[in-house]
Amino acid sequence: MMTGVAAIGGADQKLFTGWTADSVEVTRIRAELSELWRSWATLHGAPSGDILPGDREQVFMRPSTVNVIAVTETIEEAQRTAELLLSLPDYSPSRSIVLARHGAGGGQPFAVQLFVDERVLHRSSSPTRIEVIVISAPPGHDEALASIATTLLVPDLPDVLYVPFEPVAPNPLLHNLRESCDGILVDTVSARDAGASLEFLRACASIRNTLGLGDLVWTRLRTWRDLIAQFYDQPAALASLEFITDVQIVHAASGPDVRSGRTAALLIAGWLASRLGWRTPGELIPTGTGYRLTLRSGGRGKSREVLLHISEGTSDFSCASLERVTLTATGDQASTFSVERVGESAIMTSSSTPHVPDMTRLVHSSCPPDNVILAAKLRRLRIDPVYRDALEIAATLWPEGFDL
């Protein structure tokens, strides 16, 4: 058994303990957590739950937010996920349980690690407790992992199933847990198989209408969607929505860490198509420089073509998301509107409409780190019909056999 202080998840030091065993006992996990909190109190000079001396009264408390069950494949993935969950800038889960499906095996195949921390998340708030439990099991123990995780959940809180990496099919653990959770959160930024990842999410959406469903890629697109919508808030530009004939989406290429903006491009295309009523006749068609597809817009007798181009960019600032989106309308309502990331913390919008000088502006938009995005999404995980509509189309766009 190892116990100590770890600098996991940032500069702050967390207490941890860990052990391996033939099986996992929930009572031992609870007892070890209590012991860790006692150690914490000893280290920091005040018993947890008591009022700290000082000019400001402070009471320790557990955040009252959500339970998170993270499903990963390997111990390395589990470790990275634990680091992420320990470093959330706010909205820390009341308890996080990270499961690794393919542990090391060996003589004592199950491994457990517990991390605890107490932090002031906001200057005017009291410190809150953070607990992360990491459990790895050898292959074939999915049912055991699911039952351990559900026993450890803090009662009366929403339970969120978090898939930080690509969902691997078949996956009985995911299948088992997703039936009982209140929300499913996936990050498809690392998806090698964009189509399969989006398809997994689409299948989750069909479980029940009351399930909160989210993709961190969609959260990263929030500024993009807002800026695009903002341009068409202007009455003069609004009319041109119906005359869009060309959509260019340039996304981040896959980097050494496999992260790319491919699902971001598909989701933004799905969003535009679903909101503007564009019909998708099939999958994207590969071209020399990317992919294209001709969509149909307008009703019978007024049908028009909208050419969709999706390609990879070369920018250093793409944040594994989009690099540029350009919408062009032609005819009487001609306009061009473009959103482009031009720096690590800057997005530029450019617009061109008849009779008015062209306009550009810069907004502050840093590439938010994963812990910020995850906290934001956990805070607002809810049923999002607009996302579901976008997902429905995005999942059908990607041609099979064209993944990394």
């Binding site: 708030s125 807002d226 903002q230």
Partner: protein, 541 residues
């Protein structure tokens, strides 16, 4: 596009044009790409004119908030600001001044390219507020901005000047056709036009009426946004969420269960650099008439049908109208005032009020006031509301405490428990924003011994980060045409109607020695006497 306020409200059926159209309160989504973005408040294109732009309010609050809003893409692409003041600045000098203010107070760090982008929408017009040619130049600038930056004729006029200039500016805007009166039936000639005014709205009922009347001659009530930044605070809004989004507390939120309420707004600071203003205002005008009566109305109002504009404001006004102003002869029984003397705050000596800068050595301005109010309606009859506010209190705290009645019968007396404290619900506005409930619990053991315990909800524990700055929230609301968090004419005037008799009685009273309280204490002894007369005591927040 039809401005939001013209959809939300119907025209005047009284002198106040205060009524809502209940089924038309939601703005229709016309941009299909906006669907599902209800949580993202983005202002429509507009030009904002700030009168008194060289003042402290602009530097500390307005410009930093606008910069932060622009950098987080909450403002439209062509959003523009035209600053107006007497200083002889060029556009470039104005931009340099504003850059310094933004660098000092904004949350988003300023870089050259970010600033260049924001500053491209900053313009300046120099002139006196009574100078006709200034308004001509302003009009020309607005036309130019509309043409070149697609602001669509939408205009937000912000009066960040001393109140003595309000009427001059408003009349001049009207005379020069820079604003047009807009209401439900008349389509606007170009875009929407709104007027934002800072408190204080008058310094008594008569001056408040005069100002409101002057504004109503030029624009309709649906175009006027009276800022009280307290209403932009997250926790003030949460008080409404707490009451009306939970079924648990509303059934006991009345005279049958509530013994009394205490509203405390305590500051540990003195008058700082606001001596000149404070000498004129005092605690009643500075805090009680505006912020504290707003808190009272929120905590005492009936449930509005919707959280929108006049639906909320109607209920707040109904409560204020039910407040019984302390009768002239008995004002001293309902109020206690005081002025801080030298003392200690957080271990450091601080001077008394009369020793502060810009304060007369014989000043009789109150820096503390406590007041007992009764609300004469079905829900609150016989439930006293105790309000107190002061400077140089032991700590900075704003809270609303709802003290419930004692249990009618204590069944545990035989077991040795002869008394239990009544339930207490505390809404903490600042700091440590949250809600706590005090209730009785059994002490573990073989006897039936009781003790009061506290159940706490802390904002930080559930939500972590802080919300938007109050000014950011209110500026966006004004641009979006949402008046819910702005005071309406009748609210302001009714509040003065409550306060005026107190001010009149104090004025008539010969002040030979205003009760002093030592800095770092909870006010003068008279304040304790005020509540102890009713068999109650002030909380120590």
């Amino acid at each position: 596009m039809i401005p939001a306020e013209l959809i939300g409200d119907i025209p005047a059926t009284s002198d106040h044009d205060l009524h809502d159209e209940p089924h038309a309160m939601f703005e229709q989504i016309v941009n299909p790409l906006r669907e599902g973005m209800t949580q993202i408040a983005t202002a429509p294109p507009c030009a904002m004119v700030i009168f008194g732009v060289s003042g402290d309010l602009t530097s500390r609050k307005l410009m930093p908030s606008l910069y932060d809003l622009a950098m987080t893409s909450r403002l439209a692409e062509g959003f523009s600001i035209i600053g107006v003041s007497r200083r002889e600045w060029t556009d470039e000098q104005f931009r340099d001044e504003m850059r310094r203010a933004v660098e000092a107070h904004a949350r988003t760090p300023v870089t050259q390219d970010r600033w260049d982008s924001f500053a491209s929408g900053l313009f300046y017009v120099s002139g006196n507020f009574d100078d006709e040619s200034m308004y001509e130049r302003l009009g020309a600038r607005l036309d130019e901005v509309d043409r070149e930056r697609r602001t669509e004729g939408n205009r937000l006029f912000y009066l960040a000047t001393p109140p003595s200039f309000y009427i001059t500016i408003i009349n001049s805007l009207g005379e020069r056709d820079l604003v047009e009166r807009q209401d439900f039936y008349r389509a606007p000639k170009i875009g929407w036009m709104r007027l934002v005014v800072e408190k204080p709205i008058g310094n008594d009922l008569a001056s408040a009426r005069e100002l409101n009347h002057a504004m109503s001659e030029v624009v309709s009530e649906s175009q006027i946004y009276r800022i009280d930044h307290y209403l932009g605070k997250e926790t003030v809004q949460n008080a409404m969420a707490f009451r009306f989004a939970n079924v648990l507390f509303e059934p006991v939120w009345n005279r049958h269960y509530v013994d009394h309420m205490q509203i405390t707004v305590a500051e540990s600071l003195g008058v700082e650099n606001r001596g000149t203003y404070y000498e004129e205002a005092g605690a009643v005008r500075d805090m009680l008439q505006s912020h504290m009566l707003q808190l009272l109305s929120i905590v005492a109002m009936e449930p509005p049908a919707v959280f929108r504009g006049n639906a909320v404001r109607d209920e707040k006004v109904k409560v204020l109208r039910s407040v019984i102003p302390p009768p002239g002869a008995t004002v001293k029984d309902f109020t206690a005032r005081g002025q801080y003397a030298a003392g200690f705050i957080e271990g450091k000596t601080v001077p008394g009020y009369r020793q502060e800068e810009d304060i007369a050595p014989t000043s009789t301005t109150e820096t503390f006031v406590a007041m007992k109010l009764n609300i004469d309606n079905w829900r609150w009859a016989d439930v006293p509301f105790y309000l107190r506010t002061g400077k140089r209190m032991p700590r900075r705290v704003t809270e609303i405490a709802i003290q419930f009645q004692r249990v009618p019968h204590l069944m545990f007396q035989a077991a040795g428990t002869t008394d239990v404290e009544p339930n207490l619900l505390t809404l903490r506005i600042q700091p440590d924003e949250g809600i706590s409930l005090r209730f009785a619990a059994k002490i573990p053991g073989t006897t039936m011994e009781l003790r009061t315990v506290r159940m706490d909800f802390a904002y930080g524990a559930s939500f972590g980060s802080a919300g938007a700055d109050a000014y950011e929230r209110l500026l966006i609301d004004a641009m979006m045409g949402d008046q819910t968090l702005f005071a309406r004419r009748d609210e302001v005037e009714t509040a003065w109607h409550i306060i005026d008799p107190v001010l009149a009685a104090w004025q008539a009273e010969e002040v030979t020695g205003l009760p002093l309280y030592e800095a770092g204490t909870w006010g003068p002894e008279k304040s304790d006497a005020l509540i102890e007369r009713d068999g109650r005591v002030w909380r120590r927040p």
